[in-house]
C-alpha cells in the first residue's frame, strides 16, 4: 500500500478547524471516473467542468480500472458507478462493463448521446444475462428542449429522449436524473409531471432522481458560487446524517488517484492517496460543495 497523502488533506490546524468530520464506515460504493473529464458535451452546470476539450483528468486505462475493481472487491464493495465525463467515450467501455459487473452491481452515469441501437442492444444483453444489477443513469434536465437545451446544449433534448425510447424498447428502464437548475423543476408537482413525461416516452416503470445544483465548476459561472465558503463550520452532524453521506460509505477513483467523493475529484485537497485502502480514514467537510450534501440532502448514488 502506498502512503496516504495526508498532507494534502485539510487539517484542523491549517484550515477551518470546526467543520465536522465524517468517519469512513465501509466501502459500499466505488465511483470510477473511467472517462476522466472528457465529455461530448459541455453542460453549463457541470460541477467538474467536463467537455470535449477537457483533458484535466485523463481517461483511465483498462489496467487502472481493473486494479480499482480488484481493490474494491477485496474491501467488500457493494456497487460500482462508472462516470466521467461521458463513460461511453471510453474505447473499452464494453470490456470495462463486463469487468465491473463480474464484481458487483454496476451503474453507468451517462448523457445517453452515444446510445445508438447497436449499443442499446448490447446493453440489453448484459442486463438480461448479468448476475448483478446493471443500471443506467441518464441525465435529462427538462421536459422540453427549451428547458433542457440551454444547460445541456443545442439539440441534446431530442437525442436524449430518443435514446430513452430506445432503452425502453429494449426493456431497460434507466434512472433519469434531473438537476434542479430552474424553479420549474423543483417540488413534487414538477416531479409528478416529469414522471408522466418519462412514461410518455414508452418507459413503463419510470425512475427519477432529482439532484440539487452544485455551485462549483461551470455552474459558478452560469449563476453563482456558494454564498458562504463553508456553511458547515460549527455544525455538528447527527449520526443519521453522517452515516448516509457518500463519503462515509464510498470513495472515488480517477486516473489521478483516490478522492473523497465524485464531486471533489478536481480538488487536490480531496485526494486521499493512490490506493483505495488509503481512503479508509475520516475526512473533514472543509469544501464548499459539502454543504449541498449536508444541508440539501444530496446523495449521488441512486
Amino acid at each position: 500500500m502506498n502512503e496516504p497523502e495526508a498532507h494534502l488533506l485539510p487539517s484542523a490546524a491549517s484550515r477551518t478547524p470546526s467543520a465536522p468530520c465524517v468517519n469512513f464506515r465501509w466501502l459500499d460504493t466505488l465511483w470510477v471516473q473511467i472517462a476522466g473529464t472528457l465529455c461530448n458535451i459541455a453542460c453549463r452546470h457541470c460541477f467538474i467542468t467536463c467537455g470535449p476539450k477537457a483533458f484535466e483528468i485523463p481517461m483511465m486505462t483498462v489496467g487502472q480500472v481493473e486494479s480499482a475493481l480488484e481493490q474494491g472487491r477485496a474491501l467488500g464493495v457493494r456497487q460500482i458507478y462508472y462516470t466521467g465525463g461521458e463513460p461511453f467515450l471510453h474505447p473499452q467501455i464494453r470490456q470495462l462493463t463486463e469487468a465491473a459487473i463480474a464484481v458487483a452491481a454496476l451503474t453507468i452515469v451517462t448523457n445517453a448521446l452515444l446510445l445508438d441501437e447497436e449499443t442499446v442492444h448490447w446493453l440489453a444483453g448484459v442486463f438480461e444475462t448479468s448476475r448483478y444489477s446493471l443500471d443506467l443513469r441518464v441525465s435529462l434536465d427538462g421536459m422540453t428542449p427549451e428547458q433542457n437545451d440551454p444547460v445541456r446544449g443545442r439539440e441534446t433534448f431530442e437525442k436524449i429522449v430518443a435514446a430513452i425510447g430506445r432503452l425502453a424498447r429494449a426493456g431497460i428502464s434507466p434512472v433519469v436524473t434531473v438537476v434542479e437548475h430552474e424553479e420549474g423543476l423543483a417540488g413534487s408537482e414538477a416531479r409528478s409531471r416529469f414522471l408522466d413525461f418519462i412514461r410518455s416516452l414508452g418507459v413503463p416503470r419510470p425512475r427519477l432522481k432529482f439532484l440539487p445544483l452544485l455551485r462549483i465548476g461551470r455552474e459558478e459561472r452560469r449563476t453563482h458560487g456558494y454564498e458562504t465558503a463553508n456553511a458547515l463550520v460549527g455544525e455538528r452532524l447527527s449520526s443519521d446524517v453522517e452515516s448516509t453521506l457518500l463519503c462515509a460509505n464510498g470513495r472515488a477513483v480517477t486516473a489521478r488517484g483516490v478522492f473523497t467523493c465524485p464531486i471533489l475529484v478536481k480538488h487536490p485537497t480531496a485526494r486521499m492517496g493512490k490506493e483505495l485502502a488509503d481512503g479508509r480514514r475520516p475526512i473533514r467537510l472543509d469544501w464548499s460543495a459539502c454543504q449541498t450534501c449536508v444541508l440539501e440532502g444530496l446523495r449521488c448514488n441512486t
Binding site: 465501509w26 472487491r73 477485496a74 467488500g76 464493495v77 457493494r78 456497487q79 464484481v103 458487483a104 452491481a105 442486463f127 448476475r131 448483478y132 444489477s133 446493471l134 443500471d135 426493456g171 431497460i172 428502464s173 413534487s188 416531479r191 416503470r205 425512475r207 452515516s243 446523495r299
Partner: protein
C-alpha cells in the same frame, strides 16, 4: 431439525397466524421472527400479541425500534420523496395504533439472535449485521461483499429480511445467506400469497421458501376500514408493489408491474 423464519410482518396478523399453523404442520420445532412487525397493514397490536403469546424469539427491525421508542420516522432508509410520503402515512398510523403496553417490548427486542442449528451457526438480523436498515437484494449483494459480512460475523448462515423479496445463495466458502422474505406483503410477483423460509438440517439444500396463502381479501377489507392508502390495498389484492418502488434495484424492478 426444522425451523421456520418469518420476515417483515407489516401488521399482517392474518398471514402471521396462518404461518404459525403452517410452520408447525411442517414440523418446525423452532420459529423465529426477523422484525418489522408493524407498518403497512391494520391493527399492529394483533401481530405483536400473536408473537408474544406464542413466545416467538424476535429480532428488532427498524420499525420496531422506531415505534418502541416513539421515534420521528420509521427509519426504513428510503431516499425517494414518494416512498417517504407513503412511509410517513404508514408510520403515523402504526405509531398511533400500537398500545403503550407493547412499546417497551418492541424497544427491548435484540438487534440479532445467534442460533445453533445442530452445529450450524445461524445469525438472524433484520437488515444486515452492520446496519438494521440495509437492503440486501439478490442483484446488488455480490459474493465478496456477502463473504465479508458472514466472515466478520463468524457464522455459517446469515438470515435477514427488510427487502420484502426472498432469495438465498450458497457462497463460494460454503457459507450461506438467506433473505427470508416477508409475511407482510406479496413479493411483487403478481401472486397474492406471502413467503417464509423453512430450514431442515437433514436436507442437502437446507432452506426452502414456503408460499403461504392467507385471507388476503379480509386483510384488504380491514385496511380499507382503517382508511389505509388504497395503494397498499392494491398490493395485497394483486401481488404487485405500488409503493416503495424506488428502493428496488433495476433487475428486481424489471420483474414487477410498476
Amino acid at each position: 431439525m426444522r425451523a421456520a423464519f418469518f420476515g417483515g410482518i407489516y401488521s399482517n396478523y392474518l398471514g402471521l397466524a396462518a404461518a404459525l399453523v403452517d410452520a408447525r404442520r411442517r414440523g418446525a420445532e423452532a420459529i423465529f421472527c426477523l422484525g418489522d412487525i408493524g407498518g403497512f397493514g391494520p391493527h399492529p397490536d394483533r401481530s405483536i400479541e400473536l408473537l408474544r403469546a406464542h413466545g416467538i424469539p424476535t429480532v428488532q427491525g427498524n420499525y420496531d425500534d422506531a415505534v418502541g421508542n416513539a421515534k420521528a420516522d420509521c427509519g426504513c432508509g428510503y431516499t425517494d420523496p414518494v416512498d417517504n410520503h407513503f412511509a410517513r402515512i404508514s408510520y403515523a398510523y402504526t405509531l398511533e395504533h400500537t398500545s403503550a403496553i407493547h412499546r417497551p417490548w418492541l424497544a427491548n427486542l435484540p438487534s440479532r439472535i445467534l442460533f445453533d442449528a445442530e452445529g450450524t451457526r445461524c445469525l438472524l438480523v433484520h437488515g444486515s449485521p452492520r446496519q438494521v436498515n440495509e437492503f440486501l437484494w439478490d442483484s446488488t449483494s455480490p459474493d465478496d461483499f456477502l463473504e465479508h459480512l458472514v466472515s466478520s460475523a463468524d457464522v455459517d448462515v446469515l438470515l435477514c429480511t427488510h427487502t420484502g423479496i426472498h432469495w438465498q445463495r450458497a457462497l463460494p466458502s460454503g457459507r450461506r445467506v438467506v433473505n427470508v422474505g416477508a409475511l407482510g406483503r406479496p413479493a411483487n410477483d403478481g401472486r397474492t400469497n406471502v413467503w417464509y423460509a423453512l430450514m431442515d438440517t437433514d436436507r442437502s439444500e437446507p432452506f426452502e421458501f414456503v408460499p403461504l396463502r392467507y385471507d388476503h381479501q379480509r386483510l384488504a377489507h380491514e385496511m380499507r376500514q382503517e382508511a389505509l392508502p388504497e395503494q397498499f390495498v392494491e398490493t395485497v389484492l394483486t401481488g404487485w408493489w405500488t409503493t416503495c418502488l424506488e428502493i428496488l434495484p433495476a433487475k428486481e424492478r424489471s420483474r414487477g408491474k410498476f
